[in-house]
């Protein structure tokens, strides 16, 4: 079976470890993700406050459980706003070459996806009202088996990536 992998594929060897995809997303994405996280946390905060209030009135243990819940929530909020966007940015990578799109992201669970450009059905860019303020867009690459999103690219980079993938996909398909 080993032989059937072809000459470039001998597994169990370190030398064929593929380097990480080269491109990072736009550094401004960190600020955008911070604000998005803050909005999410705010929504969750309202719920937390309500449940804390009910804890105060309903349980006989006094203020202790409520304070613990509040402290936990504050830690969660700090991590979500202060820490996660930065780390997420650091680990979001992508790269396009003539044959495939290579995406890698995730901190605890790392996912690496390769999409052959011949399989790309369409590419689009999107922009929400918030990301518009930052001049950021995301690119969605769709295949017949689902789509993949590259978030937090500058508008220019997103447009360029979209056109680039689209052109390469056409070339790859024609040369098939």
């Amino acid at each position: 079976m080993r032989a059937s992998f072809g000459p470039d594929l001998r597994y169990g060897r370190r030398h064929h470890v593929r380097p990480k995809p080269a491109q990072s997303v736009d550094p401004k994405a960190v600020s955008l993700w911070r604000i998005e996280a803050a909005l999410r946390v705010l929504a969750l905060g309202v719920l937390t406050l309500l449940s804390v209030a009910s804890l105060l009135t309903l349980t006989p243990f006094g203020a202790a459980p409520a304070l613990v819940a509040l402290a936990l929530f504050l830690v969660f909020a700090l991590v979500q706003i202060g820490f996660v966007p930065q780390v997420r940015y650091k680990h979001w990578r992508y790269q396009v070459d003539a044959q495939e799109l290579d995406i890698q992201f995730g901190v605890f669970v790392v996912r690496r996806t390769l999409i052959p450009l011949v399989r790309v059905q369409h590419v689009d860019t999107q922009q929400g009202p918030l990301s518009k303020q930052f001049g950021l867009s995301s690119v969605t690459v769709s295949t017949a088996a689902g789509s993949h999103v590259i978030p937090g690219l500058s508008d220019a980079a997103a447009d360029q990536l979209r056109d680039h993938i689209s052109a390469l996909a056409r070339v790859a398909r024609e040369s098939l």
Binding site: M1, L114, I115, H148
Partner: protein, 462 residues
Amino acid sequence: MLKALRSLLPVLLVMLITGGRTLDSPVVMVAGVALCASLIEGIGGWLRYHYWVSGGELRVERGFFVRQRVAIPAERVQTVDISAGLLQRVFGLVKVEVKTAAGVQVVMSAISEAAAERLRSALGPQRSVSAAGDTETQGPAAPALHEVARYELTPRELLLAASTSGRLGVILSGMGWLYSQVDDFVEQRLLDLLSTLNLADSVSRLGPLVLLGIVVCTLLVAFVASVIAEVARFGGFSVVRTGNQLVIRRGLLERREVSVALDRIQAIRIVEGLLRQPLGYAAIIVETAGHADERGQSTPLHPFLHKSRWLQLLQELAPGHDIEPELTRPPARALSRFLVRPILMALLAAAFISVSVPFGWLSFVLALGAPALGWLSFRDAGVGVSGQTLMLTRRTLRRTTAIVRRRRIQFSESSSSWLQRRRGLADLTVAVASGTGGRPFSVPELDAELVDELVAWSSAAR
């Protein structure tokens, strides 16, 4: 016409519900107008429903108030389904669904069988054999090419397939739902009956025995029902390859006929159910784009086939999908990861059941099965490459083997958690087009470097 009648149903229902009481209310007026409109639309739409095949395209014109013209190039057609429900069979008609990768494009609710057959051969892969425009002159259901292979189910296989289908749970939950609907009523009647027969105290004495009897009877009824349902679903099964086209037929009451061109096959899946695996049988499933059955599932290429014939079936019906007997298994260091998750889940579930149900602690006995399942999942996971096909095997409860050709892989992925990376392990996923979305196939806990190479292999230029 059937379609027209059916589209009237909701309006008729509205009439029945509201009409009886307030005959002069505006609701009835609106309903009346809607009824007339939908009657005209139904009959008019039926009168003005035209379809034809010309220049390698299926053309449809339909609708009375809103005219719609549809054109589907034959090379975009993924599958053509012909089915006949009870209503259609009464009239000797069939329903045709033409599916492209974007889903169902054209539904003809009631056309004659011969017309359906003509349509299918016009849209099938043989279209290139007959000159363009020649399709009209071909006789009904007269395939120009000879039959390459045919598979059927013997009555014995059909019964065995039906009784090992594992659909008992579905039927049981259905019965549970029914029971919950009539619960109060039945319970009251039962109590009344018992008290009139003066059996109440003998029942309480025989309580556990009666309970056991009821459980056994329920299971028996559910089992028989599931067998009957499966026999009706797969009775009269056959799969035939003529030229480069597969035609899969099944169903006793509701006949279904799916035709798939060989080059439309995205992947093959071999599913060995928990009950079927010891017998050596499995269902062979074919994944096609845009297609799913009444339950949203992919098409069975063969519902119940012994492993000694898998290879032959694949060679004859799905050439290019080879079985690679020598799979690479997860390394020994992955074993603990296979064991930990089911054991933890089982213990948690058992603990929960113990707290909430009397005698629930008995479920800890069942939890003993978890390590066995973990071991089996470890032993059965594997991946192999032969030529241009990738074979992936894994077990959840049943064992699933996917056979995917490299050029059908839409994307490939490696995914590893922090705990996996510490041990140099990763999960492999490849996805193919199936139904209107995609279907991912994955193998857990493989050697991380092997996964990297397979991901690269899957997406490499070819």
